[in-house]
Amino acid sequence: MILTLLMGTIFLTQIMLVVAMAFATFRVLRGPRAQDRVLGLDTLYVTATMLLLTFGIRNGSILYFEAALIIALLGFVSTAALAKFLMRGEVIE
């Protein structure tokens, strides 16, 4: 009973996170300007981190956590680099 509840909740959570990722992808593809696309990409990274954590809870494995940590780190670096590029026209000067 409790197991069914938990598995159903995890399934529902994954569905919602995938819908959220679809919305963010729409903003990346259809953003009117470049900063909207970067914002959508940042949201995509955060949501992917959460989806991986949910997979980790479902499968009972710590490995997913490390992938989620790496995605969170890369998301920060890439968004900061893209914002710098938008402002200055180059990343490393």
Binding site: L6, M16, A72, T79
Partner: protein, 138 residues
């Protein structure tokens, strides 16, 4: 695949389920805002709902489940929490500042012009920002 979650007692499973659901709903609301708001400066606010409280709820659920399953404190999720708390304001502030700079340099009437007394400072902000950012001398 289900047998490891079957060991979870009800007093831990129900809060974990509620936390997961809360995190997912918050993230979904944030991305709906990202989809529906009108201008970029409104859209910047929406996804932070997911990147602060949403990911916080899911990390709490993960800590709860793994701590109860292995009957010791599993706390490495705090790493992601700390990372998110530190990096989300930095990235979004950089992004909003870049958008403001771009809009002002195009002469867009959607953003207010720089205040007259701060003209030099507003245009000098990117330059003074790049020193500590890139770690290089300008």
């Amino acid at each position: 695949m289900n047998n490891h979650l079957a060991d979870l007692p009800a007093w831990a499973a129900i809060p974990a389920a509620l936390l997961l659901l809360a995190g997912a709903v918050l993230t979904l609301i944030g991305t709906v805002g990202l989809l529906r708001f009108g201008s970029f400066y409104q859209r910047v606010h929406a996804p932070t709902l997911g990147s602060t409280l949403g990911i916080g709820c899911i990390l709490l659920a993960s800590m709860l489940v793994f701590s109860v399953l292995e009957s010791r404190a599993i706390l490495h999720e705090v790493l992601i929490t700390a990372l998110m708390v530190v990096t989300t304001p930095i990235t979004l502030m950089l992004l909003a500042r870049a958008a403001l700079y771009r809009d002002r340099s195009e002469g867009s009437d959607e953003v207010p012009p720089p205040p007259s007394g701060q003209d030099a400072r507003a245009s000098g902000t990117p330059q003074s920002q790049s020193g500590p950012d890139g770690g290089q001398a300008v």
